[in-house]
Symmetry: C2
DNA sequence: CACTAGATAGAAAGCGCTTGCTGTCACGCT
DNA sequence: AGCGTGACAGCAAGCGCTTTCTATCTAGTG
């Protein structure tokens, strides 16, 4: 039924070993023989049996990319960049690797499940993107998994994740970015800033919030805990949180959101409340996703070099770039000041 | 080094066959034996060797999802829905399937490469999303591949793709949607409509444009080819195309975009040209991605039930839902009239 | 011209798992 | 008591490929 290596060998009048060597290109094969084999492969329309090959060679060409939310461009952009570096040539002949993205949906269990599945497939490499969940049990579990993967020869790289001892990491300076943003707002004269945080248990959330608070503290601005609301990383969450913030303190002059998507929701809530941006209330986001420039007014935010970081992580995962010193590279965000922030009302 | 089935068997004092049967749960094993085995598995921290298992059983638990652009929420939303239906339980014991998304970047070669890679892995199922490329050679190549995959037992499902004889398809009625949109605009009184199409060789592009033209024809509105510009499915393309349309005919009263992202670019171009939306020019998008409601004014568009379609495709791929009659299900879009469209200037 | 090294090709032993077929018991019938 | 019958468990034969070790042949060398 299906064509096997042996069939090709028979057709090309060589041994299976030779066919394998032609296909893998890591052993001298006479040009004439090679041609004969390739011809047979072509004629029979032979497709290598991946599992068999992986079993015999004890390695596979599968590379996994874990993301928290595949519908979120934040992850899409990184994943795309990673895949670009991996999908290409380089590696075993036949050349291609199967770079696949796995959507955890932010669930710790699914993250672990995917890791196990990839371990099961003897993946060549795994890249984990996005913030981690700060549950100690889960952290240990993931750490163990990563160590086991690494022990089994899988290259593990983190991208936009806090560093861990188990893997090489490209990390975003979320704390610094958050600080930059709030400094900017304070510099404009704001003193009553609402903060819409992401899910409480995520590192990204915590770091950005820490930056925000650091900026407040540095400027001697009181940090009323009632001005912080936790939510999800989505638009609706931003909308609702803004309404809540406004309810708690109608005199707010600025809202800092956990990310751009949340900021968009905030803008909508503000508009629906009859407030103008930035005249009445300034709004700031985070990430600088493509759509933020299209908000009206355009969103002030912190640009994270998602594509660059992803590409680098991908290259490291493929062993095409050296790991950063200490196994950790921190990438800073850049403040993008746009129309959504301005001086406070009473200026 | 790595724990194998045999190790577990030794520890549990049973044969490897029994361990395998416990793990696969498709053969009677006495409860006490099962427990002993499970305990050994746990103690040894055994992880099944996927390739070996796939080789022996001649099937794998890999499911591939092909998307054109993973950074585009259009695909992200579908992929997420598909993965949700697949990742869950059901299937071989151990239960989980490895649902992975592959990013073709819209390139025909990569599409084919991924298909081959998936074939090589003996994937359990493959779901192709998004429009196809209308190059006959490529179409045949993909068709052949799909047939081979199907012959090898891989379930193939198309989601948001035009139907082909080789697979079950959930298709979007892009033509109907395009028509709806343009009818709406014509109904408002518009007669000079610019159209920003996607890449010329994609089915999605063609179908939406056909719908647009059908609406024009039905209303007896002249269809000046100079009012149509082709581009990519991204924001910048929308921006540039709009400028071009304006150059060609400054009296345009409406712009219909290939999708929401393009529409956002169009809005920006219009604003930068000093035109108000919808007072001076109306704008319409397509897809109703989450951010379209946050555009200012909110985008009139055609909502496509991406998540529903994806979920259905996923279920069909897993054999958990019957294929639609004839192997084809067409899903209609729903016109969402919002603030970005209104009566024309001179009304 | 015998001899060795280099270049190729093949034989064969697995890689770790699944599964058809063959036992082995312990029951429950007649 | 004799036996058919389930219910389990184990044997062993692969699945299709890679790779080590060996065999063969050619060509270069002193």
């Amino acid at each position: 039924m299906t064509v096997t290596l042996a069939d090709v060998a028979a057709r090309a009048q060589v041994s299976p070993a030779t066919v394998s060597r032609v296909l893998n290109g890591n052993y001298p094969v006479a040009a004439s023989t090679r041609e004969r084999v390739l011809k047979a492969v072509d004629e029979l329309d032979y497709v290598l049996n991946g599992p068999a090959s992986a079993l015999a060679a004890a390695t596979s060409d599968l590379v996994g990319i874990l993301v928290n939310d595949i519908a979120d461009p934040f992850f899409g952009i990184m994943a795309s960049a990673i895949q670009n570096e991996i999908g290409g040539p380089g590696g075993r002949a036949g050349g291609e690797r199967l770079a696949v993205v796995c959507n955890t949906g932010g669930s710790p269990e699914r993250e672990l499940t995917y890791l196990t599945l990839l371990q099961r497939q003897r993946a060549a490499a795994v890249v984990l993107t996005g913030g981690a969940i700060e549950d100690p049990a889960h952290l240990t579990a993931v750490g163990n998994k990563l160590r086991k993967l690494a022990d089994a020869g899988t290259r593990v790289v983190l991208c936009g994740r806090p560093p861990t001892p188990e893997a090489i990491a490209i990390t975003f300076d979320n704390r610094g970015g958050g600080q930059l943003l709030t400094e900017h707002l304070i510099g404009l004269g704001h003193r009553r800033l609402g903060y819409i945080a992401g899910p409480e248990e995520r590192t990204t959330t915590r770091h950005r919030l820490e930056g925000h608070r650091a900026a407040l503290a540095a400027a001697g601005v009181e940090d009323d805990p009632r001005r912080t609301v936790y939510g999800r990383y989505d638009r609706l969450s931003g909308y609702e949180a803004t309404l809540e913030l406004l309810r708690r303190d109608p005199t707010l002059t600025a809202v800092v959101a956990a990310n751009d998507t949340v900021a968009l929701g905030a803008c909508a809530a503000l508009r629906d409340s009859g407030l103008r941006i930035p005249d009445d209330v300034s709004v700031a986001g985070f990430d600088d996703l493509p759509f933020s420039i299209d908000a009206v007014p355009a969103l002030t935010t912190v640009r994270l070099p998602l594509a660059e970081a992803g590409a680098r992580a991908g290259r490291i995962a493929m062993g095409r770039e050296e790991a950063p010193p200490g196994g950790i590279a921190t990438v800073r965000g850049e403040l993008m000041v746009r129309g959504s922030t301005g001086g406070p009302r009473e200026a």
